[in-house]
Amino acid sequence: MTLIDNPDQKDLADAVRKLVSARSPLSKVRAVALSDAPYDADVWRQVCSLGLPGLAIPEQYGGADGTWADLFVGLRELGAGLVQTPLLASSVLAAGALLAGDDEDAKSTWLPKIAEGKAIGALAISEEGDATWGAQPAGVTATDGTLSGTKVAVLGGAEADVLIVHASDGFYLVETDQPGVTVTREEVLDLTRSVATVTLDGASGRLLAGDAGAVLDRVIDLANVALAAEQSGAITTCIKITTEYANIRYSFGLPIGAYQGVKHKLADDYTEWCLVDASVRTAGEALTTGSSEVSVAAAAARVLASPAYTRAAKNMMLLHGGIGFTWEHDAHLFYRNAVAGNVLLGGPLFQQDRLADKLGV
C-alpha cells in the first residue's frame, strides 16, 4: 500500500478534473445553486458514466469493485469544484450503510441501482437537538413496520428514492414514493448542498438485518473520510484562486503576494492542506486494508480537514479584500460550504470526542 495515488487513481483524478472544468465550472455551480434543482442532471450523468457511484460497491452488487480510496479520489476532485451531486449521500452514506449491514435482500435490490446512479439513496440519522450524530435515536419509532417521527439535516433527502432511517430499534429502509413520507428541502447556508427534513407518519419501512451499532459506526467512518476528501479538494481550490489573485492584484507598487501578511497566510493554508491530504490518504489506506485503525484514522482526517477548510475559505475572502465579500465572487460559495461542512455529519466536538473514544483516551 502507498499513500500516493496509484496510476489508476491518477487517471481517474484527471478524468474527473476534466469533467469538472468542462461541464461544471464554478459559473455552472452557481447557476445550479440558484436554481430549484439540487444538482445538474447532465453533470450527474457524466459522473455516472465515469462509474463513480459504483466505484466502492462490490461486483456482486453491480459495482466496480474498487476501493473506498478510489471513490475518495473522485470526491476530492468534485469537492475541488464544489460540484453538486448526490454521490456522498447515495454512494457513501446510503450504500455504506447497506454494505455494513447483513441484509442481502436490500443489498441486491438497491446497491445495483445506486451503483448505476439510477436510484439515489440517503441516510437519515440526525434529530433535532442532538449534536452526537445518532448516538441515541429517539425521534423515529417503529410499530409493526410502520415508522413515525422526524429526521433533520438529511443530506440528499429531497432527491432520494430510498432512505435508510435510523430508528430507535435499528436501521429501516424506507422508499420515498409512498404516503406517510414528507420530505422538505430546507433553505440552507451552503448553496451547494441539498439538505432535507424528513417527516414520517406511518410510513412503511423494512428493518434491515445487521447490528445497528456497527452499521452506524462504519457509516460515521466512511462519512468522515469522504467529507474530508471533498474538503481537501476544496481547500486546494481556495489556495489556487487566492494565489492567482495575489499575483495579479497590485498594492503599493507590488503584487500583494509579495507581502508576508498575504504570503504567510497562504503558506499556512497550504501546510495545513498537506496535513489534511496526508491524513485523508492514511484513512483511505486503512479502509482499503481493513486495518483496525480505520476509525481513528477517519476521525483524525475529519478533525483536521473541516477547520482547515474553514480557515482557507475565510482567508480566501479576506485576501481578496472587498471583492472577496461580493456576491459575484466565488469565495462565499466556499466559505458557506466550509462553515456548513464543519457541522455536517456530526460537529467538531462530537468528532474530537469520537477520536478520543477510538483512541481509548
Binding site: G257, D277, A356
Partner: protein, 396 residues
Amino acid sequence: MPADEFRAKALAWLQEHATPFTAEAADRFAPTLDESKAFQKGLAEAGLAGITWPTEYGGQGLGEDELIAFNEVSADFLMPTGPFVIGLGMPAPTILELGTEEQKKRHIPKMLTGEEIWCQLFSEPNGGSDVASLQTTATRTETGSWLINGQKVWTSGAQFSDFGAILARTDPTVPRHAGITMFIVDMHHPGVTVRPLVVATGDAPFNEVYFDDVEVPADAVIGEVNAGWAAAVVMLRNERVTIGARGRARNNPLGFDTLREIASDVGTSDDPGVRRKLAMVYARETAAAAFGRVLHEGALSGEPIGARGSVGKLAGAEFGLWASDAAEEIVGQDIALLSGKSAKVAKMILAGPGSATAGGSNEIQRNIIAERVLGLPKDPGAADRKTPFNQLKLSK
C-alpha cells in the same frame, strides 16, 4: 532484498542492540558520545546505515521502501544517533550530490560508521535567516589553498565534530549570492576555537566557532568556487527534509503517547477538554508523519520533494509550539515542576522555540513555501540581490 525481509533484519538487530521504547527507559536515556559512536558503528556494520546510498561509499544501495521500513521499525526504539543526525542529514547528501569522487570516498564511509562527526557552519552573528549575508572570508593563498577567517554561531555539535561544512565569502565585489564558496574544514585545526553557548534550557548544545587563519587545501571546496550558494541551497533543502520528515516519534515528550500517559497519571484524562486536546495531538502528530511518507513515496515515484521539505519543517515546528500549549492543559499544574514525569514535557516546552528556529525560522519556511511551492512573488527584501556585497547594508 524485499522490504519485508529488510524490515525483519532491522528489527532483529535493533531488538538485540537497542533499547525498546518505554516511557521509563526514555526518562533514563542519556547516551554518552562513546556509546553513540559504538551504536552507529554497529548499525553500519549490520547494513542499516546509508540505506539508500551507493554501495561504493559504504551505503546499502537500497530503495525508499527499505528506508521507510527502517524508519517505522526504529520508531519503537531509543536510538542514540543524535551526534550523527547533522552529518548524515545535511553535509553527507550534499557531498554525495556535489562532492568530488575523492571527497565521497574519503568521508561518506566514515560518516556512516560514526568515525567522523560533522557540523554545519552557516549561521553568523550578523545573520542566520539571511545566510547569504555571511561575512566569514576565505582568501586564496599562493599555493592554491585557502585561509578562512571569521566567526560562526549557533553551530550544533561543534564541540565534538571532526569536520564542518562551512560557507565563506570568496568574492565581496559581486552580489552576495555570487561570491560564496562551501568548504570542508577540519575542526581539529589549531586555528579553530569552539566556545559553548548555554541556551534557554540550561544545556549547551551549540557553540560559537572562531576561525583564525584556518588553512584548507584547494580540494576542500564542495562544488565550485563562488558557487557555494547552490551548494548551500542543496544542503538547506536536505536539512529541512531531515528535520521535517521524521516519523511519529514515540519518545517525543510532547507526543500523544507520552501526554496521554501523563494525563492519566495526574488525573486529567477524564476532563472533556483534555480528551479533545489529546485527540488533536494525535491527529496532528500522525498527519505530520503521514505527510513525510507522502513526500518520500512521491520522491520514489519521481516527484522530487523540493521546497515541500519546508512544509514538513514548518508543520513539525508548529506542532511543537502548538503541543506546548496543549500540554499545559493536559498536564495541568505539574507542568511547572522540573521533577517527575512531566519534567521532560516542561523541558520540551522550553526547547520549542529553539527547535522551531533551528534550520530556518517559521517565517523563512513560509517564504519558501509561498514563493517556491505556490509561486508567489519574491519578498521585497530580495531587492538587494543585484547589489555587490561590499556595498550592502548589514547588521552589525
